[in-house]
Symmetry: C5
Subunit: 354 residues, 5 copies
């Protein structure tokens, strides 16, 4: 996960509610896409400019989903939000990409901030901040850049599958959040596979490079956890949103979504524990390998050191060394050395070091 | 425990409530088995096809237990569930084998998801998802494949033992869940025995293979924990189900079941701590063994290195080395070497390294 | 603590409430002992058979304490319990020795399950399941075998000490539970002493045998914790038992008992932390010892290896080696070797390895 | 973070509410600065002495912010506080620099204690105690010394930016606390950067100096955590302050502030986990390095020890050693030695130690 | 902290409420000291015997503080307590020195048990059990032995400082508990200083003796924690004591006291974490030192082992060894050896082991 540096520094000292984009600009120009639908018909529009969007907000009676890719232009956010009387603090939150997932209920709208997790082309996890504003029949979604996990929802709306077209903007909001959470499972599976790959690598050959990978994985898990944990509370509050905004029928679905969120969190915990277990395994493997090395050293040294000593003794140049003159002295010494050698081997065998 | 890969990926983008089996198909064709009973009589039926089952649901006034082995056929699930007005989300849950244990209360039925744990022929733990739908006098159980832990309950119904025949479908549901929980104890005992076996192996000879086994065991414990933990909440909610569904007399039994669940969870915790303790023990044994190896090396090297040095000195070829010409030089050197040797031994003895 | 294998296996598939003793039979025949008392008089009876006990239950108006040693005979338990309308599940709990401590309140009686901890003759902790049934003026206690911690209470009743005789069966129940909890302190003290002994052993000589002892101790602590932890909840619920069963005056005593229980639990936690601290201490001692060994090896090897090399050089047999012919070559070489030796010593001294 | 020694000792035995400054005097003389403003106008005053300040309190009808740098003079604190009927205990808290962040609500005022974190010129974190008293239209802030994080707020008031001028003293209090919390992010970012720098250092070369830095960082994190954790509770209580003191409009902002606080705390937790992960990484790197060293030693020793032995054997001086007289004995021995050498290399290659 | 062995054993089997002193008798004879005061006057009395104390209880209308040093004489405790209708269990608690800090509210009095921590002359922490009974205008304090932390309070009463004389016995109780808690800070500071001293020792030279000190410190911290933790709950309950006993004005002070208690507990936690961090630091230092030792060994051995081998080769006595006869053979060998030596140095330099 690319570590985004929150440009908090630049905000210090500014009034709360000051609109300032704190992320990195990821696209040249904000892009709009709009879906208007009711049970009978659906219309897909790609507005060229802000005015067109504002006009749609003013006129549409059907469910209206406005998606905005690119939130670096503060004025666009401000214009749209003001149109539906969004609080300054909400606008600020939409623009601050380092937000913690949360749900805020205001008199006339609800505001949800999420982290959308996606895999980039290097199979690394990337997060993107996602904000929703649900105001009557209008749902506005704000993304940092093009590319999202909503294709399935779009398709269902356009093709009229499921009962999404029969429901209003509250169900749409649920469906989008559900897509995000569903995508978490994909990410976690990928992570789980990485951990399993690492585990088999580890059991075969615990090289040092594995350690760096493991460290990287733990960090990735940590980052994901941070994005996902607050979701539990968010969905729990979402379920309790006032009936005037949330149709009771939709509530059943959110309860289901809540179960999914718990499952995501538990999966993350399992991944974390697996990663920890892997670290233990790695450290033990390393220590076992070291042991094996020590054993070889010990055996070699312990066997040959006394033998070398014996050879050294008879290499001394004393004028009077009786053994040297014995006829079979040399062979006797060889015999002694072989005895020592065999004795050592037996000793190590007994110790189970061989 | 075989790690089932949840086929979440294939579900992403689908509408919530879309029926799609996410597991691995474990049997060719779904099989039905039915028990109809009241206090006086009992009837065991093996319906050939779906229509027969539907007919039974329509006509039976007695307690009706329909068990379905094999949930890979979405249409069967949908047909049966629709018959008793089950919510789309419930059907989806039945088909999603990666479910977390849970209980859902709907207006006209309750839905329980559990993990049934069984030992396969390699003595490994296998889990299987189990769903119950309790609707008036009808209890439907959904299993992934043939083979379950309900033989005892079936026997009691058929032989009229206990007061199971005097009670309705709510007591039957309790009895089945109780069987599942009872079976957990069996699994945990087996795990406990494995850990004890490992412990004695460890104390005798801490070889590396033990480590892999231990890692495997910890993972198994982790998986079981994941299956069992949510049960606490499930049973706790089960006890509080509305009286219209759950007879007060049955509630006493569920309280007892709750106690068992707590006991299962505590046993798992004890197993986890035991496994951790074992890892400590292993690491300490390994480090002790290494110490012993180091000691041997140190003693051998420390004793013979100075001796070899002495021998080396008198192996030098200087023309003028007075000692070499002494009559007893050789023996004096031997004396010195023996002194050094003995001195070393005493030193190590003092250090308690011998 | 002897690890009792819960014979759960044999129970799987049986109806809940089926009476089956799950422990090991520890005595040949169940034995009864009865105390009947009021403020003025006390009577001690040892009934020969069940009928006598049943008769006492039927006729006694005073406080009646029936103690049963040996619960392996299901029929005895069933007969007595049925007499005072005890629920099937309670009977099952009495017979299942693997119970978790708990309190159950029924309409006409309360049922408490505890673990009584005692030291056996090898100074090891043994547990025994203890069940109480309090029904009006009757208290029945069930033990696995002869031998308990109630001598003090018996004495007080017989000698009329304290105000135990002035109170009813509720106070008696309190007094017995209090005895059990008081005895926990004794066990914990013994454990604490063992840990302290181990600690002094450790600081003197961290041999490997200490590790096995420590492992044993940790396990013992774990087992005790498991027996004692649920007690907190039990006593807390006990205090809140309905006034019709529990006289308000007795409640003050139970509050006191609750404080003791907390104290027991805290003591266990302290013991656990001490044991962990000891493990750290052990591992550090071992690693320190290893360090010391390594230092000796390093010093010996580092000093003598270069010296041996020098000796080796002048042991070469080249025809033309000018040094060998120098008059004082030998002594110069000795000088060099002594210099190297002293230099090494100084270096190690500086490094604080000597 | 400079560890301030709380001069608690000197306070022991004094009556509660005794006014005694417990910190280190950081400036010669307390300094006052005052801002008086309403929506239309603003006035900045630097009072020379206490009387002037008291006079302002007496007369001002507009929002009045009195900032006091330097709290070592007990009489000044007492005089000002008495003026607006502040409780003795509050005065004592203002003077005790070792306070835990807290909020106290009194009848006529609220009192908030915070830790202001700033980086000193060595890039180390320094904390300073900050107390606020909010009494009707008056806000008094007490700092230990000159220099704070309020420049942005001052500027906004003076330049009339944002709607700070349209709000009263409650919003001012919020704005100041918000500045402090905003500054925490800056501190945490700096810490995060330090950890990342350390991490890259570590991966390149795990030298010992890194360990000390890491220890320092963990301690800094610990200190910050201690300053920030209680804030969660403080802000949470702040939000619930009575409406008579806190305008409902301001409450929305405090809810936002609460979110920021949670985010700060979570960031700290992530930093802590990162630091722990780094320690693991370090220890593993060290142990890997050690392994590598051991391998080199083992390989060198294992290869040359047997070779040296062979050379030693033929260095013996026995009169009868047949091999010595063979024409090609010397070359045969070389051959054997090369064989052993190559054999060893192949063995180590197989073991993957090369 | 001296580990007091609770003489629980001797109490087992006794009736609850049996009065038996469980500590070690620390002084020969119990001593009384009494302060009687109202706003206008104060009187200090040292009663010779029990009767005098009883008389004071009977007659005094002013605030009466009776302090008793020495609680080994059960009859004294019983006499005094009976006088003001104290429950048997309270008397038992006063005499049991192993009590956990707690507060009990009875109809006519409140009872507080605390641990007073003091440094003995060896700078070690010693604890002493302290019980208070507050009954109307009378406060009785029980200490194990002479010497306490109340000098400041006595002085304030005698000299009429603060408003202690204007308040009743409830404020006195608060003031005494406050003294105890204030003293905890002193103890914790001392501990903190010890830890810092240890830390600097560690960074300079991680000798083994540090480990024992660290172990001792951790244990001390553990003991203190055990004494202080329950205080949080005690003070929290104290604050909620009925108004008839506790004047609302005093409640504000207890709230302040509660803050102090939290601060004490947090300080303990920080100390514990510091001690753990120190252990990590120690273990890392040790392992670093070991690494350094290993490096020296490896370098020495790796350099000289091949050199010695070369020397060994030319020490062989083969009749035909062409090199030996070369004119400059000896010098060529020296050259080779120097090359090997330098090559090794460069290799180790590259590996950063030098």
């Amino acid at each position: 996960m690319a570590r985004k540096r929150q440009k908090r520094k630049s905000k210090i000292g500014l009034a709360p509610g000051t609109l300032l984009f704190t992320g990195q600009q990821k696209m040249e120009k904000a892009e709009f896409s709009v879906l208007i639908y009711n049970e009978d018909q659906v219309q897909e529009i790609t507005p060229k400019n802000l005015e067109e969007v504002i006009h749609l907000i003013d006129t549409s009676k059907d469910t209206l989903w406005i998606n905005i890719d690119g939130i670096h232009d503060e004025s666009i956010i401000e214009n749209i939000c003001s149109k539906i009387l969004v609080h300054k603090l909400t606008m600020e939150d939409i623009l601050s990409v380092g937000q913690r997932p949360k749900i805020d209920e205001y008199e006339n709208y609800i505001h949800i901030v999420l982290k959308m997790l996606m895999l980039n082309k290097d199979d690394e996890v990337e997060d993107e901040q996602l904000s929703f504003i649900l105001h009557k029949n209008i749902l506005i979604s704000f993304q940092e850049k093009t590319g999202d996990v909503f294709e399935g929802v779009r398709k269902r709306i356009l093709e009229g599958k499921g009962f999404i077209r029969k429901r209003g903007s509250d169900y749409l909001l649920y469906a989008l959040v559900d897509s995000v959470v569903d995508h978490y499972f994909l990410i976690l599976e990928t992570l789980g596979e990485k951990i399993e790959t690492l585990e088999s690598e580890l059991l075969v050959n615990p090289v040092e490079s594995v350690l760096a990978k493991l460290h990287h994985l733990r960090r990735e898990t940590l980052d994901i956890r941070r994005s996902v944990y607050p979701l539990r509370e968010v969905i729990s509050k979402f379920e309790k949103i006032d009936e005037s905004i949330l149709h009771p029928d939709v509530r059943v679905f959110i309860r289901d979504l809540y179960d999914h969120t718990i499952q995501v969190i538990e999966t993350i915990e399992v991944l974390r524990e697996s990663a920890s277990g892997l670290l233990d395994l790695y450290m033990n493997s390393v220590s076992n390998k070291m042991n094996e090395i020590m054993k070889v050293l010990t055996i070699m040294a312990s066997i040959f050191i006394p033998l070398t000593f014996i050879a050294g003794v008879y290499g001394m140049n004393f004028q009077y060394m009786p053994e040297l003159e014995y006829r079979y002295g040399y062979f006797v010494v060889w015999g002694v050395m072989i005895l020592v050698f065999v004795g050592m081997l037996i000793y190590f065998k007994q110790k189970k070091w061989l």
